[in-house]
Symmetry: C2
Subunit: 345 residues, 2 copies
């Protein structure tokens, strides 16, 4: 084919002007029925399709969602956002939307990219990941009226219920609470927790899940609980060192719940196969070495993100009205994956 059929080709065959063709496509009511039929026949004959860019100009819709691709994160847990990207792309495809990727070096750089894509009508809405307290990105998007949803709640007290901030998150409190309850149910009480230094929105939330389960059922004193609460930056080596240090104090430890699979692998290396260790994220590493872990249901998160933007039904373009009756945020419950015993340890 030499070239795609254009509006001029259609007009030539139908014997009408370019403007008339355009009227048939955009405002058919103002065209005489017999002219309309002639033009429609020419459109069918040529297989003419209005150009996507022209459509975009007309509708101001690109049917595209923008997502910043984070730099490659640490090896073990980094795949979570990639899995989320897969889930979003597949579900967006089913709704007739595509995903546009971009990168940014900083929140400020990301805001510049938002502005550029907004100005160019390249995307209809943004999906943000890795939110943090007083995130300038969401402030900018709200101030500029650009539709967005975050995977991750806003961590401030005031903005959690801000109706202008749509968000979906996984209930980390529940994930760690389930893990701790599962261990308490096996009859043990000295369950340690290994998590990230405070303040960390995600980390503090997970730690509370352990603490509250322990306060309710372990019958340990506050002092004993404090002794079982370990802190380490994420990483296999850090996890291992923290657990070895705790054990050197003589504190009894019957199991360990961790804020990540990296820390859990480190903990498992420190204690061997006899003491249960539960990680978080159910990564390929946890699966490969046979560690129990908390799984984030990323398909549900992706479904929630799209429903908040577009409404529950399969609308094929962003439809804010359809989404109007939908709650403004959604907290998804993770599930504990219990593995009997490490295959490696």
């Amino acid at each position: 084919m030499a070239h795609l059929p254009t509006v001029l080709d259609v007009g030539r065959i139908a014997g009408v002007s370019r403007q008339t063709v355009s009227n048939v496509i955009n405002t058919p009511d103002i065209v005489k029925p017999e002219t309309r039929e002639r033009v429609e026949a020419a459109i069918a004959q040529l297989g003419y399709r209005p150009h996507a860019s022209a459509r975009r100009l007309r509708t101001q819709k690109s049917s595209t969602l923008g997502i910043r691709l984070d730099p490659m994160a640490n090896g073990i847990s980094g795949a979570v956002l990639d899995r989320f990207l897969h889930a979003v792309t597949e579900q967006a495809d089913r709704r007739g939307l595509r995903v546009m990727l971009f990168t940014a070096d900083s929140p400020e750089d990301e805001i510049e990219q938002f502005a550029r894509m907004r100005d160019g009508a390249d995307v209809d809405a943004f999906i943000l990941t890795s939110t943090f307290y007083r995130d300038p990105r969401t402030e900018w998007l709200i101030a500029n009226g650009v539709p967005f949803v975050t995977f991750g709640r806003p961590w401030g007290i005031d903005d959690m219920n801000d109706p202008r901030h749509l968000w979906v998150d996984v209930d980390g409190w529940s994930g760690v609470h389930q893990a701790t309850e599962h261990l308490l149910g096996t009859g043990i009480r000295h369950i340690a927790y290994l998590g990230w230094p405070s303040p960390s929105g995600t980390g503090d939330d997970r730690r509370r899940g352990w603490r509250e389960a322990m306060v309710t059922r372990s019958h340990l004193s506050e002092l004993e609980l404090d002794a079982l609460a370990m802190v380490a930056e994420d990483g296999v080596g850090n996890g291992r060192a923290a657990v070895e240090a705790l054990r050197a104090t003589g504190t009894p430890v019957e199991a360990i719940v961790c804020a990540s699979d990296s820390l859990a692998l480190g903990a498992a290396l420190a204690v061997g196969a006899d003491i249960p260790v539960i990680g978080y994220d159910n990564t390929p590493v946890a699966e490969a070495v046979g560690l129990s872990s908390v799984e984030q249901p990323l398909d549900e998160v992706a479904a929630g993100v799209l429903e908040l933007l577009m409404g529950p039904t399969g609308a094929d373009v962003l439809d804010r009205d359809a989404a109007a009756g939908v709650p403004r945020h959604r907290l998804v419950t993770p599930r504990l994956v219990v593995r009997e015993r490490s295959t490696l340890l």
Copy 2:
């Protein structure tokens, strides 16, 4: 801001028609210098930017690359294509290009998506992954004159040097050859190979890397080599079973080179820490459990893909002319990552 400045706003401030503004932007040579200056001042004053969709209509360029996001692959090795996607997105950003994701259920479905995006001028070129012999996708793209590069060589004999098929690949032969040479260099000879069933373009290529290194330096007979060549579908359990079956025959095995980290983990579980095992892909799992592995340099692959499409310099749009002098394919050499001993085994 009530609305973005339009060409009409610029014309009003400069006291000229919409067409004159358009001429200043698109064909400044035909506009009188003093008019041009007035319009340029109005453009600067308003911060007017030509609409991306309008630009796209004019130039037929979207500055966008299309990539099909594969369904989530198996846990251990699946991250390779995600790492490639990160590398492409980051390097494309530096060249002013974005990445558009889509999904497809089959090669035929993928071809339909190509056609749709080509018709809509949504993307300038496609990057394909997971190529196979007689791939109908590349045939379609060539037949329709759509620019593309594949990560993965075409596996047919005739089409490997087809100048219409641009490709970048990692030299799997070399990766496995290096791994085998490394082990031969430690003074051992009974090095087994664990790889996928034939025919598999990638798999057969890797297996040849082992075989040719062994033929040259192991002094084993063809029969002995055949006995050391194991076949298994990818997976930890399959790898473990294949190695256990080989050892049950009494064949001496001093080391094992594998086509993937999944197979390598299975092999390592079968033989314990005393027999060296080398995997392929240097996944987070290999790093976490301390397995040696062959690393694919995905930054180099991404750089090669963009250079084949756009030329070596930082052109900010797809420039086929700049790419004209560049070779039509590139084979990137992987590197062996040697880890002293598994931390887990």
